[in-house]
């Protein structure tokens, strides 16, 4: 049997190290090609995960298990189920796009840029595939290092502040999780997640552990009120960094909720579900309003990400198959849509070196192809039917209405708010008369940019028109997850 999961982790990492060797500026072009080959190989090895995936079982698939640190019974234990498999593939695809997107844009320290993304990609795949607490933590933390460097080296004017804020926020959130992991090890004598799913825990202990895990994952998601690092990080990061941050790393936080919090701490989750739902609704509604008033396009999309992720946490804590599946669909859709939105802003930024909405206007006149793409992705961001954004939001709202009509009402506000901030931005940037001579001089998307956006556009439409394959993959695993949640561990 071929260890596809190990390959999906180590192929990009080794490719990244290989790229680092070509660090001289004269080697920049060779570094790009090696990086592209590495990213492509990294993506190709994840495809069998989808084609060979058995959708009829919730058991772990592609399992790899080897002793790693015997002293603490830590295993190199990899496996995916219907919940995590899609994210491994999504991440590898995004890495390929990001390497491609940075092709001409990045001119300084090209090798290090490419290597950072490749290594990051391997670490993220590791976090999604790890079934051992320590292994997960190692991947979860290690990915901070490349992202710190990406924001700090290739970022905007306030990159140093944003990079350090990003690192410290996430680290502060996750260190308590380490104590929680060690505590669970002391109770169960094992670091395997599956053993933790079975261990009985009293409610006070569950609540304490919930607090530790919740802090770690809610910072990463990010949930209101610990979201403030995200707008800074997004605005300062280079386009590729924003894409990976929004499309993938936020998902790891949400993934942590369903991999750790819900099944390990079911009673605390149910006990505190009201609290999480309120925080999620604040994110959806309040942050939606905040997004409305942003003058910087990247900041607007950053706040829109927080708002959309609020939907994800809301869906999880409704504890119904519809809600969880909707949340997962929302995660994947948001992966595509936010990545596309940041790529679009990147296209404009590369030409104008500005992200201020006020500097643009009437872009459609000079960049018609680009305007079409922007329109499509904006519709998806607003959750229009037939785009991927609709599937997740609709399912979550449906679940919310079933739980409590008022809850559904509050959640549905996002449809209005999302449409408002997205379309208003599009109106000001893309439509209207040509605002100034700079806009008049804009050139339409290059062939590279066109295909880049086209790949994402196809994904967005495919998922919107025919979501069944995506939902099928996760369905059995979600049912199994909810069975864990329903069973009290007291």
């Amino acid at each position: 049997m071929i260890p596809y999961l190990s390959l999906s982790i180590w192929v990009p990492i080794l490719a990244g190290l290989a790229v680092l060797v070509l660090h001289r500026d004269s080697d920049a072009h060779r570094a790009r090609w090696v990086a592209l080959a590495g990213a492509l190989a990294g993506f190709l090895v994840t495809l069998p995960l989808f084609t060979h995936f058995d959708t009829t079982t919730s058991a772990l698939q592609f399992v790899e298990r080897g002793e790693w640190i015997p002293r603490f019974d830590v295993w190199y234990f990899l496996g995916v189920d219907g919940i995590s498999v899609l994210f491994v593939i999504l991440n590898s695809l995004m890495t390929l796009l990001v390497v491609w997107a940075g092709w001409e844009v990045i001119q300084s320290r090209v090798a290090q840029y490419m290597a950072a993304f490749l290594i990051m990609s391997g670490l993220i795949n590791g976090a999604f595939a790890a079934m051992d607490g320590v292994l997960f933590y190692v991947f979860f933390e290690a990915m901070l290092i490349p992202m710190y460097l990406i924001i700090g080296i290739w970022g905007g004017p306030r990159r140093e502040y944003a990079a350090i804020k990003f690192f410290l926020y996430t680290l502060a959130g996750s260190v308590l999780m380490l104590v929680a992991l060690v505590y669970l090890y002391n109770v169960t004598e094992s670091f395997a997640l599956q053993d933790w799913y079975r261990v009985p825990l009293s409610l006070p202990v569950q609540i304490a552990l919930f607090a530790a895990f919740f802090l770690a994952f809610s910072v990463k998601v990010p949930m209101w009120p610990v979201h403030t690092w995200l707008p800074d990080a997004h605005v300062e990061a280079p386009t590729g960094g924003s894409v990976i941050l929004a499309a993938i790393t936020l998902k790891i936080g949400a993934y942590g909720f369903i991999r750790f919090i819900l099944p390990i701490l079911p009673d605390a989750s149910r006990y505190l579900s009201g609290f999480v739902i309120v925080l999620s609704l604040v994110a959806v509604i309040y942050i939606g309003f905040v997004a409305l008033v942003q003058a910087d396009m990247k900041k607007l999309i950053a706040y829109s990400s927080i708002s959309h992720m609020g939907f994800v946490t809301l869906g999880f804590f409704l504890f119904s198959p519809l809600g969880v599946e909707g949340a997962l669909a929302q995660m994947i859709s948001h992966g595509f849509v936010s990545a596309a939105m940041f790529l679009c802003v990147g296209v404009l930024y590369d030409r104008m070196h500005s992200r201020q909405i006020a500097d643009f206007g009437g872009v459609a006149n000079t960049m018609p192809k680009f305007a079409a793409f922007v329109m499509l992705f904006s519709m998806a961001n607003a959750g229009l039917p037939a785009t991927s954004g609709f599937v997740g939001e609709f399912l979550v709202i449906l679940a919310a209405v079933k739980a409590n009509p008022w809850l559904g009402f509050a959640a549905a506000l996002t449809l209005i708010l999302g449409a408002a901030y997205t379309l208003w931005m599009v109106k000001r940037v893309v439509f209207g008369a040509v605002a100034n001579p700079h806009v008049a001089a804009l050139a339409d998307v290059s062939r590279r940019e066109f295909w880049l956006l086209a790949v994402v556009a196809v994904a967005v439409l495919a998922m919107g028109i025919w979501p069944k394959p995506f939902v099928d993959v996760m369905h059995v695993s979600v049912i199994d997850l909810l069975a864990h949640v329903a069973k009290s561990k007291l």
Binding site: V138, E141, L178, Y183
Partner: protein, 479 residues
């Protein structure tokens, strides 16, 4: 008698080679000083071989129980020898550029190493004290080696006065323990304290002084005042020496005295160590933020790290001791690389001891910036570096014994600590260089420093071997 000599063969080898280097150096002309250097390196290598070749699992007591040769002493001696050897390689160019490449440097280093090795193998309070003083006196002299400048002399004076005070306290404590139990042999003291009656007050009183002495040698709050000044004032190679191998000796001291001889007073010293650990982690990490000199910053980082190590120690079981030992070994390996990079960047008339001297290192040399990056993340305890597993093991030990709150304090202070390590990374990677002179260093130092840096990463990905060695050392030594 001959069989007994085997137990102290490494010490004999170091003593003989120190004397040989001392004499040979007299006849070596200034231009051929490297003869003494290589002689020292050969001696260290030979001693490493002796330690490995004579290692055995079962402890052997010798000389009427004055010394013990067990896995603990073997493993610690091994790491101390490696640390000293690397320190000499890293600092050769630095010493040459400053006229410090002299016989005294090598001889004093060997004598301090001898003191450390005696401490590691001691089974009696007298032997312990003997080793401690030999180590300390040699280190005082080493700090003052650059006698023409004022900072090192001042640092040496501070180190000496405070060190003498600590030694006095230690001796006072030992005398009280002797008074209470009637023994100086560590095993017999252990027997006496475990079945103690009557004079417990006297014992605890003695314990307070012993713990103070230990705390001074480890450099934990509130006995830390000497650390930043000495780290700052001493020539960088000597700082490197003080920051590495003596920590191993101090750990051996702590383990043999507290976990061995005074096991019966576990409850009492546990409380004291909690206070020391918490204060060190909080103060060390907070004050380090304010430093602009990287040697001072690393000094405060040492204070914080030793506090973290004590947290594993105070779990007071085999698990905790081996975690603490792993922590010290990991810390020593990381420290070696951190000062190694500093020595690499300094040249004649330029000490790379300001944090700003690291600005733009990535532009000047991506490789050394990468090594320093690994070092900084290892000190901060971010995976996948060795430092993470050290912290992990210690936290596990503490939580295992029910000190969850202590673990929470520790991880929160480590977030504070991450800030100043990140700042160094920020300067190296995000800023432009102010100093663009090429980095020159001898090939052997480059190769070893690279290996040192990679080791932090390799042991980070495969930590079980180093961890297993420390566990073996502690469990085979009957604590």
């Amino acid at each position: 008698m001959i069989a007994q000599l085997y137990t102290v063969l490494p010490e004999i080898a170091i003593l003989v080679s120190a004397c040989v280097v001392l004499i040979v150096d007299l006849f070596v002309p200034e231009s051929k000083r490297h003869v003494s250097f290589w002689l020292t390196q050969v001696a260290l290598l030979a001693t490493i071989w002796i330690v490995v070749a004579t290692a055995q699992l079962a402890p052997v007591h010798a000389f009427s129980g004055m010394v013990v040769d067990d896995m603990l002493s073997d493993v610690l001696r091994l790491f101390a020898l490696v640390a000293v050897s690397l320190m000499l390689f890293y600092s050769r160019a630095y010493l040459m550029a400053r006229g410090l490449f002299r016989g005294e440097m090598f001889v004093l280093t060997l004598f301090s190493l001898l003191g450390m090795m005696v401490m590691m193998a001691a089974a009696n309070f007298i032997t312990l004290y003997l080793g401690l003083e030999l180590m300390s006196l040699s280190l005082y002299a080493l700090v003052a080696l650059q006698r023409d400048s004022s900072a090192p002399s001042e640092a040496a004076m501070k180190y000496f006065v405070l060190g003498a005070l600590a030694s006095g306290m230690l001796l006072y404590g030992i005398s009280m323990i002797y008074g209470a139990t009637g023994h100086l042999d560590l095993d017999r003291v252990a027997d006496a304290t475990l079945g103690v009656q009557g004079n417990r007050t006297l014992l605890v009183f003695g314990l307070v002084f012993v713990v103070s002495g230990i705390a001074f040698k480890l450099g934990v709050v509130p006995y830390h005042m000497w650390v930043p000044d000495v780290y700052h004032g001493a020539p960088t190679p000597v700082t490197l020496l003080i920051g590495t191998a003596p920590k191993l000796a101090a750990f051996a001291f702590t383990l043999r005295v507290l976990a061995g001889a005074l096991k019966g007073l576990e409850f009492d010293w546990q409380g004291m160590l909690i206070v020391l650990a918490v204060l060190s982690m909080v103060l060390g990490n907070l004050v380090a933020i304010a430093q602009v000199n990287i040697k001072r910053m690393l000094a405060y980082s040492t204070i914080a790290n030793m506090g973290f190590m004590l947290m594993g120690f105070l779990a007071a079981d085999l698990n905790g001791y081996s975690a603490a030992m792993f922590y010290v070994v990991a810390y020593v390996l990381t420290s070696l690389a951190s000062f190694g990079v500093m020595l690499l960047l300094s040249r004649e008339g330029f000490e790379a001891d300001q944090i700003d001297d690291f600005k733009g290192l990535n532009r000047r040399s991506p490789w050394w910036a990468f090594v320093m990056l690994i070092v900084m993340f290892s000190l901060a305890g971010v995976p996948p570096t060795l430092g993470f597993y050290a912290k992990f093991a210690v936290i596990e030990a503490a939580v295992n014994q029910g000190f969850v709150w202590l673990a929470v304090v520790a991880v929160l202070t480590s977030v504070v600590g991450a800030f100043y390590y990140l700042r160094v990374v920020k300067l190296m990677y995000f800023d432009d260089p102010v100093d663009t002179s090429p980095i020159v260093a001898p090939g052997d130092a480059r190769a070893l420093l690279s290996a040192n840096g990679i080791a932090l990463l390799v042991f980070g990905i495969l930590p079980q071997y180093l961890m297993g060695l420390c566990t073996l050392a502690v469990t085979q030594s009957h604590f």
